[in-house]
């Protein structure tokens, strides 16, 4: 290897940081990456980035982790931008011009200047640092929108139809500038605090590993976009399972009867044929504030899979239960608004607004008991935190007796079950309960548990 020793060390620590984020990189890939570095040279940073991504990664979902880590281990520059700290208005002027031109290279340079000029805080070497939040707060790039728009219009002379897209385009440019500032601040902090630590803490995990219970708005939006591809994947997995199941086991009676024509030697085994009945699915979802992100995502996923089943019925509850299947069917076009619409259009709360599993499950058994039959698989989604009220175990027992299968997906970590007001262990005695904290676990469970 002709690469200098420092580079090899840097590559291996990059790989270690990726592994810490759950990207599985083997030694073989690391060697490939080193060969790629040798072939590409270190002159062009973007080429190096693509080369390392091609050799180290195995999927698109890993890229959002890779890019920030790469920026930390192979930074664009060392130290500050080297120019005089500009004053705020002058920097805003130049930023507006760069946004109007959509000049990415200049924007990156301005991001570095912004962090250098306005992001620093603290004065003692032990407590100082760089804050993208502070830099953006001082610079306020979002307030440049109107100015940049007028600027572009003045130059282009309001160019017809595409003009109406201009605002959104500028908004996207500003958003990408904000991300550049974030990356730059991370880099500067890493210089001071040590790369490994920042790579571990400041790089967000892939969306499918984020806990449903702690995911922010944008993370949930990101997850929602993965529903369709995920559903497609699960559908093929289900189809494969169905095919295997359809091949079935040997029908001994018919094989023996067939063997009579060959003198009792079973030449042709006859397989048991399954009746092609598509199973029914019933979903009971807790949509109270604490777990709504999880329920919304799962509802969308099941809705996307609806053509795999003869019937899907979805019920939502907080402390009263109501059927939301039609809302969901229409909601596929507008996933963001789904949760809000369910909460406003269905009767989910009675006297108070906190969830009560006992009452809701009792009401389900009473009013919608006919939804569950011997061909139905029931999924209950919720954290089983019933706010100290009666968990109504008989209703769950009755449900488990009537349905073909009942599964409970709990978005809390297993260690939390039974703490505080959680009735999870009581329910887990009656029905199978699974921990389902993130999209990765959910897709594994759905692929395994859904009936075929």
């Amino acid at each position: 290897m002709s690469a200098p020793a420092g580079v090899a060390e840097r590559l291996t620590s990059l790989v270690a940081a990726l592994r810490a984020h759950g990207v599985r990189v083997g030694t073989g890939e690391t060697v490939d990456a080193a060969q790629a570095m040798e072939a590409l040279g270190l002159a062009d940073r973007e080429r190096l980035r693509e080369g390392l991504a091609a050799t180290l990664l195995h999927g698109t979902a890993q890229r959002p982790v890779f890019d920030p880590v790469f920026d930390l281990y192979f930074p664009r520059a060392v130290g500050g931008p080297g120019s005089q700290p500009a004053d705020r208005d002058e920097l805003r002027d130049r930023l507006a011009a760069a946004l109007a031109d959509d000049d990415a290279a200049l924007l990156a340079r301005l991001a570095a200047e912004a962090v250098d000029g306005f992001g620093g805080y603290g004065s003692s070497p032990a407590s100082d640092g760089w804050s993208s939040h502070q830099a953006l707060d001082r610079l306020r790039p979002q307030t440049l929108l109107a100015r940049v728009r007028d600027d572009v219009r003045a130059r282009g002379g309001g160019s017809g139809f595409a003009d109406r897209l201009l605002e959104d385009e500028i908004r996207r440019r500003i958003e990408s500038f904000r991300r550049m500032v974030g990356a730059e601040a991370r880099r500067r902090v890493a210089e001071r605090r040590g790369r490994d630590e920042i790579a571990r803490r400041a790089v967000a995990p892939t969306a499918d590993r984020v806990d449903f219970l702690f995911a922010g708005r944008d993370r949930l939006a990101e997850l929602r976009r993965t529903v369709q591809p995920l559903a497609r994947k699960l559908a093929t997995r289900l189809a494969a399972r169905r095919r295997r199941a359809a091949r079935g086991s040997i029908d001994l009676r018919r094989t023996l009867r067939g063997s009579l024509s060959t003198g009792g030697v079973p030449m042709r085994p006859v397989l048991r044929r399954r009746r092609p009945a598509r199973p029914e699915l019933v979903l009971l979802c807790d949509v109270s504030g604490s777990v709504s992100g999880f329920s919304d995502f799962t509802m969308l996923l099941v809705q996307a899979l609806h053509d795999q089943f003869s019937k899907v019925r979805v019920f939502a509850f907080v402390n009263r239960i109501d059927e939301v299947t039609p809302l969901l069917a229409h909601g596929a076009a507008d996933p963001e608004g789904l949760g809000a619409r369910i909460r406003s259009e269905a009767t989910l709360t009675g006297w108070h607004g906190s969830s009560d599993y006992g009452v809701a499950l009792g009401e389900f058994a009473e009013r919608h008991g006919d939804a569950v039959g011997p061909r139905t698989t029931v999924f209950v989604l919720g954290d089983a935190r019933t706010n100290m009220s009666d968990p109504n175990l008989p209703a769950v027992r009755q449900l488990a007796e009537r349905a073909r299968r009942v599964y409970w997906l709990n978005p809390e970590a297993r260690a939390q079950w039974g703490t505080g007001d959680s009735a999870a262990p009581d329910y887990a005695d009656l029905v199978e309960m699974f921990e389902c904290r993130n999209a990765r676990q959910l897709s594994a469970l759905v692929g395994r548990l859904l009936p075929v």
Binding site: R24, G26, G28, E29, D32, Q35, A36, A39, L40, D44, E46, R47, E50, G51, A53, A54, T55, L57, H58, G59, T60, R63, S159, G160, F161, A162, R164, L165, D168, E169, R172, R225, Q228, P229, R232, K233, T236, R237, A240, A333, P335, E336
Partner: protein
């Protein structure tokens, strides 16, 4: 390649591991990749050019993922054209198997041979009917036989069953195929391998490990403009710019199926055919169906772009 001799000698002949698989490199640098692909009409993004260069340099298969219509298959065709290589294509589908992907014995010809040869021993006949002459080579075997340069395109790998991936592993890691009756056939010249996938199924980790991974997403605005200008030469420059901007705006919306590069080009062609020289509400409204394939997408995009009633 002619083969004489019995079974054992054939196997020995093939069991030799090739001492030197170093095919002459196709490209000298990343810039060389971009320039020569551009000559064939394929405008590569820096990511694509870098990865193709590495695939050539490291001699590894290239796994290309991305949405439909961004030019995954086109990339393989362009590389074949640049390398003046024969493009061998294996189109995967559910149920594709060994006999379609790898090789098959020509049973009819074997039967003919048996009935034609009268006075010879069983051993002679047996060794003869399992020789190269009766082997029908399918794409994977075709790609590793012979000395001419080849590009092997395994299209829509995710459509094939999981078992087929196992079949691919031997071919992709060692560039060899084992035929039980003949022995192991190794490549004398390594083909440039491109696998494409729409990610409708997660490919196995074992397969991914053997490949360089490339995700082709939607191109940057500037690149897409150049692609449109190249593919639809008659289109006015400002109109091309507007087309790309509208498509970019549609991609930012949360649609069921966002328009891809192929749709952008189709739309540009449609506009050219209609003789539109600028975009306005009526033109966009009437031609939105070229870009969007679902009715609810059309409605949603219409609302967001203020197209009035549809």
């Amino acid at each position: 390649m002619r083969l004489e001799g019995g079974l054992r000698t054939t196997a020995e002949r093939y069991d030799r591991v090739p001492a030197d698989l170093e095919a002459p490199l196709l490209f000298t640098s990343v810039d060389d990749v971009s320039a020569r692909l551009a000559e064939t009409g394929y405008l590569a993004s820096p990511a694509v050019a870098t990865t193709v260069f590495l695939a050539d340099r490291l001699g590894k298969p290239l796994l290309v993922e991305g949405p439909a219509g961004v030019g995954k298959t086109e990339l393989a065709k362009a590389v074949a054209e640049v390398a003046r290589a024969r493009l061998v294509r294996l189109q995967c589908y559910e149920g594709v198997d060994e006999s379609r992907a790898l090789y098959e014995w020509n049973h009819a010809k074997q039967l003919l041979r048996i009935s034609a040869g009268r006075d010879e021993s069983w051993d002679e006949a047996r060794t003869d009917i399992f020789s190269e002459e009766f082997l029908l080579s399918r794409p994977l075997l075709t790609a590793i036989r012979g000395d001419e340069p080849k590009v092997l395109l395994i299209d829509e790998t995710d459509k094939a069953d999981v078992e087929v991936e196992g079949l691919l592993l031997e071919v992709l890691s060692d560039f060899q195929v084992t035929v039980p009756e003949l022995g192991t056939i190794s490549a004398t010249r390594r083909p440039f391998v491109v696998l494409t996938s729409n990610a409708s199924r997660e490919l196995s980790e074992a397969l991914r490990r053997r490949c360089l991974f490339l995700h082709i997403g939607f191109p940057e605005e500037e690149l897409e403009r150049r692609i449109v200008r190249l593919r639809v030469p008659g289109l006015d420059a400002t109109l091309a710019e507007s087309v790309v901007r509208v498509v970019g705006a549609l991609r930012a919306m949360d649609l069921r199926k966002v328009p891809s590069v192929a749709e952008t080009i189709d739309w540009a062609r449609t506009l050219l055919a209609l003789g539109a020289d600028t975009l306005d509400e009526t033109v966009v409204r009437d031609t939105l169906g070229v870009l969007l394939k679902h009715q609810d997408d059309v409605l949603k995009a219409g609302a967001k772009l203020d197209l009035g009633s549809l």
